[in-house]
């Protein structure tokens, strides 16, 4: 490696003397950093991208937190609170376990929902209540236990339950709380008619019924969870997720997915699609073109006519046809394969013309005299001389492949299991993100696609200028 650098020092220097080259490499480093960050920052996203369960605790289609701060809108971020700090006691045969979570609410906005995860270790019937201690002392008691159907057991087992702001028992309890505090519930004949996601954090007045009107109540909140049983019981874990009207760095999409995680994972996937496709096309094109040019004659004629036919077929409609044929089974590998198969013809033509020229040089004849086989001559003596061209076209082939994949994904023909930028755009299109103003669903992936294309185009052009003697600037 160091030998490579010392040997090519002048070329590298020349490459970086071009602003193109510097910008391209800087952009590429940015994308590589994203690729490195993806598995660290969002480890399980790749396998869970289309899973509903993995994202069910997030708010739906909310903007990023920094955006709400920027436009100075009242917001409540999506937060997760967790405690395992339980106090267990035994009062003459009655076992009790308590966990308290405290939240200091300073946000100007209201949440849209909440989720409780409660993990018990128990062996007999458990009675559970959750008391929400509010700053205005209008405490709410939620009969959490009534909403849980504990599996019957004889020995101690661990069991986790999930309760949300849509759980009927919790709505019922809130309904009772509202009516006991003399809120006029006309128009809300039953608990099923109210939406409670924001109510825990709202001021208790008539406006609480609608989230748009409700006034946020700031201060210290305490969530005190009690569990009672006649057998040993303990709450080993209590987790509260409060869904805000803002989420993380890039908000969420219509399927509650974290857009930032998707964008991060888009970088390694795009780089992989781009480099693999470009590499495959390059290898096919180089070998095909050089064989054709080197052997010449009728073989050359036939091979080049095949190229003419393939090159005159419009690729995108053909790809669409193939992918419709593969349907939902169209994995990323099939897409890479198809783009490669239809992307090598231009390279083959250039490689052929170079091979025609190089095969006339005496050193090819000298190798033949020395006893080299045709294959050896092609791979050792002709193709290495095409490498300058190959590097440039490798770099220029990457954005072409990425854009093709993005177009196919946007049309809904990509691999649905992977968070590619094209897929995110496709989803934005599906939920009419532009009309609803969900800009975080289409601007960032669009910019990222444009940026990665630019990176490789810049690098490719700089490489071409440095390596291609015909357009080299001296």
């Amino acid at each position: 490696m160091s030998k490579f650098f010392s040997r090519n020092k002048p070329l590298i220097k020349e490459f970086f003397s071009r602003s193109f080259g510097i910008i391209g490499v800087a952009l590429l480093i940015f994308y590589i950093a994203m690729s490195i960050a993806a598995p660290i920052d969002a480890p399980n996203v790749l396998s869970n991208w289309i899973s509903i369960d993995a994202w069910q605790d997030n708010p739906r289609a909310v903007p990023p937190v920094w955006y709400m701060q920027l436009i100075n809108a009242p917001y409540f971020p999506t937060i997760t609170l967790e405690s395992t700090n339980h106090e267990d006691s035994n009062l003459t045969g009655l076992y009790q376990s308590v966990i308290t979570i405290t939240l200091s609410n300073t946000y100007q906005g209201l949440p849209t929902g909440f989720v409780f995860y409660i993990t018990y270790e128990y062996s007999s019937q458990v009675l559970t209540t959750l008391t929400v201690v509010r700053p205005d002392n209008n405490n709410i008691t939620l009969n959490v236990g009534n909403a849980i159907s504990f599996p019957v057991t004889n020995k101690t087992i661990s069991y986790t339950t999930r309760l949300t702001s849509d759980t009927p028992q919790l709505k019922e309890d809130i309904y009772k709380w509202l009516s006991s505090h003399k809120i006029n519930l006309t128009g809300f004949p039953s608990s099923a008619n109210i939406i409670i996601g924001h109510m825990l954090f709202s001021k208790l007045n008539q406006n609480i019924l609608y989230r748009e009107n409700a006034e946020p109540l700031q201060g210290i909140y305490k969530f005190v969870l009690y569990a009672f049983s006649f057998a040993p019981v303990s709450i080993t874990d209590f987790k509260i997720i409060i869904d805000g009207n803002a989420y993380g760095i890039m908000g969420t999409d219509g399927n509650k997915r974290d857009v930032w995680a998707g964008l991060l994972w888009g970088a390694p996937i795009a780089l992989m699609i781009g480099t693999l496709t470009s590499l495959f096309s390059l290898i096919i094109g180089l070998v095909y073109g050089v064989y054709s040019g080197y052997f010449g004659g009728r073989l050359d004629e036939i091979l080049m006519r095949i190229v003419d036919v393939l090159i005159s077929i419009p690729v995108l409609p053909l790809l669409i046809l193939f992918l419709v044929y593969f349907g939902r089974a169209s994995s990323i590998w099939i897409i890479i394969f198809l783009i490669s198969i239809f992307g090598w013809m231009g390279i083959a033509r250039v490689a052929r013309s170079s091979a025609l020229q190089i095969k006339g040089y005496p050193f090819i004849e000298a190798s033949k005299v020395a006893g080299a086989s045709n294959t050896w001559i092609i791979f050792r003596h002709i193709i290495p001389q095409l490498l300058p061209y190959a590097y440039a076209s490798l770099a220029l082939g990457v954005p072409a492949a990425i854009l093709t994949e993005a177009s196919l994904s946007f049309l809904g023909l990509g691999d649905p299991n992977l968070p590619t930028w094209g897929q995110i755009l496709n989803h934005a299109q599906d939920i009419s993100a532009v009309q609803f103003g969900y800009w975080w669903l289409w601007i960032p992936p669009g910019l990222l696609i444009a940026g990665i294309s630019l990176a490789f185009v810049f690098i490719g052009h700089a490489l071409d200028e440095v390596l291609n003697p015909r357009i080299r600037r001296l």
Binding site: F363, K368, V369, A370, R380, P384, Q385
Partner: protein, 322 residues
């Protein structure tokens, strides 16, 4: 006898007709002998060389004759056997285009090592000492192995080519205009080197040149070719002292001399014939000063006029003028 060529015919099947570049040529070469082949450009001397190493560029084909190398007809061998067993190992070649005969992307050492790779199972370290020795024998510093071709001068490149050609100690080396494109001093050095190496290894050599003075330096035996035919072949001294064929005579007169004062350099009037449609009879007859009727009709055969001196000319057959 190391090499015997019998009635070799190599034609180029171009779209505009068949070019008979080598037509019915027979000659032989003993071990350790140097054969010079001379003639104008396009007379088929290079094609003859390429026929021996079986690398005639398409659309050329050897259509007839035999090339017996150590009594094996090498034209009968299949391509792979010939490539692996003969090229470089038994028959090697030094090119005229020394300037471009090395691949620009590899070092000299890598390219020399390739020769070993094609033919034997040796690793680089084993081959290295052999290569160093070989480079020393062509008066090059072994450190040149780490250099790329563009770092070498023309003479150095030609020396590398010679080293490469002799690397596997072949029985026969074909030197096709080994000194063209080199300046005169380097030419002399290369010729001396060839001479020295040839006598050192006892290699047979076919030296091809349009320059009779270069051939005179090295050759034991000289063949003169004209329009795809061998017109005269004789020991070197005989050719220079007593050329028989009118073409040979003219060719020798057209060489500028250092020691003799020459009024005017002679040249041979006319142009070499179109090999697609060569003249009937003797192919030299349109340009021959001694042309007779028979020359236009009957093709002369190579006849031994003096011991080992063969000539194809009607002047020396029965009924000829001399």
């Amino acid at each position: 006898m190391l090499l015997e060529i019998r009635n070799l015919k190599t034609y180029f099947f171009t779209s505009r007709g068949i070019v008979k570049a080598v037509d019915d040529v027979s000659l032989s070469l003993d071990e350790g002998q140097v054969l010079g082949l001379a003639g104008e450009s396009g007379c088929g001397k290079s094609t003859l060389a390429y026929s021996i190493i079986r690398l005639i560029p398409p659309p050329g084909l050897t259509v007839g004759g035999k090339i017996l190398f150590e009594n094996t007809d090498i034209l009968e061998l299949d391509n792979d056997t010939f490539r692996k067993e003969y090229r470089m190992k038994k028959i090697s070649m030094v090119f005229q285009g020394a300037m471009q005969a090395l691949t620009p992307v590899y070092t000299v050492g890598e390219q020399l090592y390739e020769v070993f790779k094609y033919h034997m199972d040796v690793n680089y370290d084993e081959a290295k000492s052999l290569m160093e020795e070989q480079l020393k024998s062509v008066a090059l510093d072994p450190s040149i192995m780490r250099r790329y071709p563009h770092e070498l001068s023309g003479g150095q490149k030609q020396r590398v080519m010679i080293a490469m050609a002799l690397l596997l100690k072949p029985k026969l080396v074909i030197a096709d205009e080994p000194t063209t494109a080199l300046d005169v001093i380097v030419q002399a050095q290369i010729l001396n080197l060839l001479k020295q190496l040839q006598s050192k290894y006892g290699t047979s050599m076919i030296l091809i040149s349009h320059d009779l003075s270069i051939i005179a330096e090295l050759a034991d035996k000289v063949g003169i070719m004209y329009a795809g035919k061998l017109v005269e072949i004789a020991p070197a001294l005989d050719i220079y002292k007593d050329p028989l064929h009118p073409y040979t005579q003219k060719l020798l007169k057209s060489i500028p001399r250092l020691k003799q004062k020459v009024e005017k350099l002679e040249f041979i009037p006319g142009v070499p014939p179109d090999l697609r449609n060569p003249p009937s009879g003797c192919r030299f007859h349109p340009r021959c000063p001694y042309v007779m009727d028979i020359c236009k009709k009957v093709e002369p055969q190579l006849v031994e006029i003096k011991p080992n001196h063969y000539v194809a000319c009607h002047l020396y057959s029965e009924g000829g003028k001399r």
